[in-house]
């Protein structure tokens, strides 16, 4: 069919889509809910983008947030001015690439956008459930979606992805159906709501339930709805979705033309009015209830117990300016997954928009998601990353080769200050290790994830609180120790989290360094040409002798010292055991002292 060119369409849209309704075949007892009640009928509204592979093994399932729906991408009609809620993420060549994946998104149970919920007809009465719709849990929602997959003939999903309440559903997926999910991405979420987020929900709920049009939830019979309460609840929510910076940038203290009303007031009014047209109050309360009561620790006793059976490879993403689900909650998830030796990566994206960033600050998130998903090739390279100079490359390779000789086959290895993951990739190739990198730079983290390795986005100077004692066989500090602010803390943490530590560094006790200061009266220069004393990465240069002394004080056992001597004189000195004078570089194996 001839399609007229239309320049207003997004360049990489999944195009025109339809929400479909799946009527799920239920057993005689219906769909049993966690609360004890059951539903006699179950309909699920969903959308699908891309093509299912013949083996049905390319499915990505999207979990939507509190007031989302199945319409994640594309448009219903050519005249639509708005696309699906995550259109920037889903489509050909986008973060979730519909050229490769079959992408599904479904409205949650209890929702009001097609899936069975309070506005659906109760087959027992022939009228809408309204306030009589039973309590549903996040687990019920995910179980319902799993039935949808079965209905569509899909056994396994390649990845489940969701932000906010969608992230909680992702956590349900990997704990409830560990065999079904290969990869999982949990964005701006947590194992439960914080007390502050709960508090805002409380006020929103009270606003709805104290509205005179609420009628104990039976407003559908009256022809009026608790508009004011619902608008208030939504307005409170909206404020919590935006960062302080963003709300300031967007509205500041600007006033409308009439001069008396603040712009932010008009915005909130608009948001409230729009919401009451598109959402049902009972539905809002049911889903909010599910989110409020979601608590993996309460259910399993601890997060480690919750994640014990997880088999998915997990990416946890926090957003820097999110105060509704602060980064600490993502770190907590990551830490628990590391604690039970699961494959997990963590990154904290610099995103100004607050909690809403997973919907709007999409660029870096899309790169991270694309890096984490398998198959897609050729992958786009992350931008803005400096290439290493050839000198540095050579040094790293040398160190790598040495480290490879030191690390045993198949070991679990932690690389502290891993850079772009080159060392870990080499070790995976040469020694078949399971590698996890830690770095402070998000560009590096994405590169490591892109290599298919695990990566944890963290500042090692803050300690390694997210990693349990003895979690790894080896921890490596390759040229990293002089660059940290707290060498003592980092060394202490290294021998805590790994059975064996490997420290590779440039020896500032080498005769050439000494002469540099003696003759030229300048602090020894880094080997890299751009470094000066005032902006060097190595803020704590040290000698082999210095290192021995620190280990002695910290009761760290020196298991082996490998001195690297480049020149003939260096080698001679080293052979004569003048290691501190002759060694250009050193590789030292250390471990916590055992009594």
């Amino acid at each position: 069919m001839f399609e007229p060119p239309n320049s207003t369409l997004p360049s990489a849209s999944v195009g025109c889509v339809q929400t479909q309704l799946a009527k799920i075949q239920l057993p005689a007892q219906g769909f049993e809910l966690e609360c004890g009640e059951s539903l006699a009928e179950l309909t699920i509204a969903y959308e699908a983008y891309g093509t299912l592979s013949p083996a049905a093994d390319n499915t990505v399932f999207i979990c939507h947030a509190l007031t989302g729906d199945a319409h994640a991408a594309g448009y219903y009609e050519r005249s639509d001015t708005e696309q699906g809620w995550w259109d920037a993420m889903i489509g050909p060549g986008k973060g979730i690439d519909t050229d490769f994946y079959y992408v599904l998104c479904a409205n949650v149970l209890g929702g009001c956008k097609g899936t069975t919920g309070p506005t659906s007809l109760d087959p027992a009465t022939g009228r809408a459930y309204g306030a009589h719709f039973p309590r549903v849990s996040t687990r019920d929602m995910v179980r319902a979606h799993r039935l949808l997959l079965e209905h569509l003939g899909i056994d396994k999903v390649n990845a489940v992805i969701g932000g906010s309440f969608g992230g909680m559903q992702v956590l349900e997926w990997i704990t409830l159906f560990p065999g079904t999910v290969e990869r999982a991405i949990c964005i701006a979420s947590g194992s439960s709501l914080s007390a502050q987020a709960l508090a805002f929900d409380v006020v929103g709920r009270h606003a709805i339930m104290s509205d005179p049009h609420w009628y104990n939830g039976n407003y559908l019979d009256t022809g009026t709805i608790p508009e004011q309460g619902l608008a208030r609840a939504r307005q409170i929510g909206h404020i919590t979705y935006l960062s302080q910076e963003m709300i300031d940038r967007k509205f500041g203290r600007e006033k409308s033309e009439k001069g008396s009303v603040f712009e932010v007031e008009r915005y909130l009014q608009y948001k409230g009015e729009r919401f009451i047209k598109r959402f049902d109050a009972n539905s809002y309360l049911r889903i909010m209830e599910a989110m409020d009561s979601f608590d993996l620790v309460e259910r399993y006793g601890s997060l480690q117990k919750a994640f014990a059976e997880v088999r998915a490879k997990v990416l946890v993403v926090a957003l820097s300016s999110d105060w509704l689900f602060p980064a600490e909650q993502s770190v907590e998830l990551t830490s628990a997954l590391v604690g039970c030796e699961k494959k997990v990566s963590y990154c904290r994206l610099d995103a100004p928009h607050g909690h809403d960033a997973f919907l709007v600050d999409i660029e870096q998130l899309a790169v991270a998601v694309r890096a984490f998903l398998p198959w897609v090739d050729p992958k786009p390279r992350a931008n803005g990353v400096k290439e290493c100079s050839s000198i540095m490359e050579k040094r790293t390779l040398d160190d790598s080769a040495l480290i490879a000789c030191t690390v045993s086959r198949g070991a679990r290895v932690l690389d502290l200050g891993c850079g772009d993951g080159e060392l870990l990739a080499l070790l995976r190739e040469s020694n078949a290790v399971t590698g996890v990198g830690v770095d402070i730079d998000i560009q590096n983290i994405i590169k490591v994830i892109d290599r298919g390795l695990e990566a944890l986005h963290a500042d090692i100077d803050g300690g390694l609180a997210m990693i349990a004692d003895g979690a790894y066989q080896y921890a490596i500090l390759s040229q990293t120790l002089p660059a940290v602010k707290e060498p003592r803390l980092v060394l202490r943490e290294m021998v805590r989290v790994a059975k064996m530590g490997i420290v590779a560094f440039t020896n500032r006790g080498h005769w050439r360094c000494r002469l540099d200061l003696l003759w030229h009266g300048k602090m020894p220069k880094e080997l890299r040409a751009t470094d000066r004393w005032y902006d060097t990465m190595d803020i704590h240069p040290f000698t082999l002798g210095d290192f021995y002394e620190l280990c002695r004080e910290e009761q760290i056992e020196i298991v082996e010292v490998i001195a690297i001597a480049d020149g003939a004189l260096d080698r001679a000195l080293t052979r004569m055991r003048f290691l501190n004078l002759g060694a250009n570089r050193a590789l030292v194996k250390v471990r916590a002292f055992r009594n």
Copy 2:
């Protein structure tokens, strides 16, 4: 009269107090308001603690926050279980010491605790004003309080102090009545509300005004009040007063005994119920309106213009976990005051409770307030500050003497990394300078304020954004440059904010340093005995030669170099112009290069 011992009384209470009513004598036209209307009668409710000095020159005026009142300290009856809202701050030996000061606190105009407001009788009708009470501004409130002072025969106040909306009143005091106020303390406040805070107020206001019992504000006639709306507004406010950490610590996700209601829900319910008993909805809206529309920039064009006439010495206090009035707003105030060469100190207190911290995390705040207020003697020493070792002391004194020879009399001097302010105090004595110190350590800041000097609490590694170009004649970096993370940035900022920079440092090019590395193979030790290479304060040691090079690159002009040579050999080398070998220490005068 015999007083029975009562162990439940606070040890340092102002005791039993009474709220008094002052009927203010008004001219024929009444009390004219900024909105154009006027009030025929004006009554102000106030409390007083301590004794007014014969010269009436020891008054401290307290400005209360949004829903506060005149009852700041003490108790009404012995059986009262609660004291005034700032009892922890006001009393004998406390932050605001009633043994020295005569302390006044008055209910604001528009309030509902005794001062003329919507619940007062309108003399024109003989009935309560209710919704007909005119709009009042923060300026109107402060003008009314100024009439109270006149009524009490007080010309000048020693200090005005307030937190949150009280801080805004403090800003009104110093701009509106510059001749009246000697000192001012503005805590957890700003020159206007942020857009986020405005947004929360919007939702609260809408909640009240959409309550069916609101009746356009004429609810007093109906016998019912807009309870639900008022409760919602207060609940929203309450969440914003607490830090995320504190609400989590206080309630977490705990549930009540019945098992279905979260503790935080019960708390908010209780807070809402309590509030509707003690506060009037019209009054709440009027005061909130005054706060929302307070905006010094809008009124004066810029903060610098607003503060042009200020004569008070100001202390600006931010609270670390406050997200309603984030520290940036306090920094903005400070920066503007610095910009117009006013006497201003700034500190950011580490206070976990959020915005509420100015009421509850009182300990450090009280120390800072006490340090800032004059007269009180002997002052308590701030705790937890290490005394300098004798070696260090000697070095500092030497540097001080040198710096004193360099700085001209009466100059405005900025000391970057000022420590406890010893150098500035010496310079004040020897050279009569106006000294301002910058330090990252709050204990140091309090010590500097306690010396009667100005202090700015900041991390100089983050740049000196709060200080305008050329604001000072001299800026000093005494032994500070090697300790900063970003020496280049700090040096650049130094010559930006001051016409002349003075950098004093230990020369790592001295022959002894060189030999240390050469012979012992260890990084040169600090002169202080406890420092090791891995925890030294000096993360960027450098030599005189290094310093020259950096200045050259940064186009910073070296005006003068004073080399300090301790030993005979040092002196010989120095005299032979081998400064980099012979100088133990150096003092270099620098300035931005002029074309």
